[in-house]
């Protein structure tokens, strides 16, 4: 049994009388210390799976457990000590009128930490920003720096699991490399477990040992990094993704 077990997960949104089944019967298991990727195109339900894990999506079926405990309804505060999320767009996920200091203080205040000052200093050092950034506003930071702040906000509670929703897709290639290296280093140092959602197969191949390919809300196939590298996909859709990610080929 893994640290995170998801079986038969379904998420249904009801919008304007229409039922949208965003996730249908998805199962996977993530071991402690593992990095697990979810790959798919927009609308495949990959982000919704992450949101369902943290209780941000209306689950309509299936079970999720973490450390053997069932995840349902409102999560207790202790859950968020263990599980933190990093969102895709660092321009939208940081409050424009809060300084970095305030952004990082908030989770500490919510969880009743007393040594806030030292923790903020440490978190900023951990993500390679340093003290100089502590009293800046988001508009004074570049995209890569903002994403580092978002990562600092997630790791400041010393969680066990990071849920990463397209953490680098808003960033330039050179900055993406820096952020991926940072995430890699943090995982090595702290034994974190990652669930990383991305549309970029290359990012997932670099970061994750195993991955799940999703399409239209369903799991298409689960692969290991080795089978992905060997292009040993068994499903047509995965093969199409692999071909497409090599670039353009004239018909």
């Amino acid at each position: 049994m893994g640290l995170i077990d998801v079986s038969g997960l379904s998420v249904t949104f009801i919008a304007a009388g229409r039922r949208v089944r965003a996730v249908r019967d998805v199962s996977f298991s993530v071991g402690r210390g593992e990095s697990y990727g979810i790959v798919g195109e927009s609308g495949s339900g990959k982000s919704t799976v992450l949101r369902a894990l943290v209780g941000l999506a209306p689950v309509s079926g299936g079970q999720m457990t973490m450390d053997g405990a069932a995840l349902q309804g409102a999560r207790p505060a202790a859950f968020y000590r263990k599980v933190q999320m990093v969102f895709q767009d660092p321009y939208a996920s940081l409050h424009p009128r809060h300084t970095v200091d305030r952004v990082l203080s908030e989770p500490l205040a919510i969880h009743g930490f007393t040594d806030r000052d030292a923790r903020i200093a440490r978190a900023l050092d951990d993500v390679g920003l340093g003290q100089g950034f502590r009293f800046r506003y988001p508009h004074q930071l570049s995209g890569g720096q903002r994403q580092r702040v978002a990562i600092a906000r997630a790791i400041i509670l010393e969680p066990e699991v990071l849920l990463l929703d397209e953490p680098t897709s808003a960033l330039d290639a050179s900055i993406q490399a820096e952020v991926l290296n940072l995430l890699d280093r943090l995982r090595g140092e702290r034994g974190l477990t990652y669930v990383l959602v991305s549309h970029d197969l290359a990012v997932v191949a670099h970061m994750c040992e195993r991955l799940l390919v999703m399409q239209h809300g369903r799991a298409v196939e689960e692969m290991t990094r080795e089978s992905l590298r060997a292009q040993a996909a068994t499903q047509d859709y995965t093969r199409a993704l692999l071909t497409a990610s090599e670039g353009y080929r004239p018909a």
Partner: protein, 277 residues
């Protein structure tokens, strides 16, 4: 030269700041025939501003100046508002990065597309048919539904495809595509590129493809300009991009993760102040 659709010589774009004018594009020159020209660079390199300046869309108080800016024999440097109106959309069109800001939020997709089709269509029925056909051409699965939808009801990828459809309906001679496929899924991206490719090959459209995605540009375009800090640091044939000479281009390639595996940690780009000079 008869082959050149667009000639740009020594394009400079500057914005006033408290420290004086800041030049964001510093002397960019290129010519474009009926081909696919890629402009790559990171955010802030001036690639988008270069694209906008060709359409006279440098936002004030920014200023664009050039020694030559000629499109199909017309000098665009002193173009009047009426000149621009006759060019924009009809002869030169542009697909912008973000559909959220480029589509009219209070008009249905269908109406916006029919507006684009109105000039070439003889009737409303024909305009409607054109709009629906173009939605299908950009791989929208349910064109009828999208036709009646409003922009907020579409995902980013769908909005982007709608934008592309809208820009292609008037069949322009030059299309400036600013990160047109960055919001799209890889499989859809390839389909959209195929549409653009067909337009270049069959209709002889000129295409300026602005992107940060080196791998995509190297596989799609004929020629590539690599921009850094407002300058073109390298111009190469797309097929030779892997063997690029400039350390910046090489560095950008190296820092991409690869499916087939590479080094861990990823090599990062070490910038050299020399490159910006």
């Amino acid at each position: 030269m008869s082959g050149a659709l667009l000639t740009v010589d020594n394009l400079r774009i500057s914005f006033p700041t408290r420290q004086g004018r800041a030049e964001v594009v510093r002397g960019v020159s290129f010519t474009l025939g009926r081909e696919r020209l890629g402009i790559v660079g990171e955010s802030g390199s001036g690639k988008s501003q270069t694209g906008r300046a060709i359409l006279g869309l440098t936002p004030p108080p920014g200023r664009a100046e050039a020694d030559t800016l000629r499109f199909d024999g017309r000098d665009l440097r002193h173009a009047t508002a009426a000149d621009w109106r006759s060019l924009r959309g009809r002869r030169i069109s542009m697909v912008m990065q973000d559909p959220k800001f480029s589509l009219n939020p209070v008009m249905s997709i269908g109406r916006q597309l029919m507006e684009a089709a109105a000039r070439t269509a003889s009737s409303r029925t024909e305009a409607r048919a054109k709009a629906l056909a173009m939605l299908e051409a950009v791989q929208i699965r349910d064109p009828e539904r999208v036709f009646h939808a409003y922009p907020h009801e579409l995902s980013g990828g769908m909005g982007q495809r709608v934008m592309i459809a809208m820009m292609l309906i008037p069949e322009p001679d030059l299309l400036i595509a600013d990160e047109p496929t960055s919001a799209l899924d890889v499989t859809v991206q390839i389909e959209v590129l195929r549409i653009l490719d067909a337009l270049v090959k069959e209709r002889g459209m000129g295409l300026i493809f602005i992107s940060h995605d080196l791998r995509l540009v190297s596989s799609f375009c004929d020629r590539v300009l690599v921009m850094y800090a407002g300058r073109v640091v390298e111009e190469v044939k797309a097929s030779d991009l892997m063997q690029a000479k400039h350390p910046y281009t090489q560095g950008l390639f190296r820092c991409l993760p690869r499916i087939e595996g590479g080094t861990r940690p990823l090599p990062t780009l070490q910038r050299d102040a020399e490159w910006a000079r």
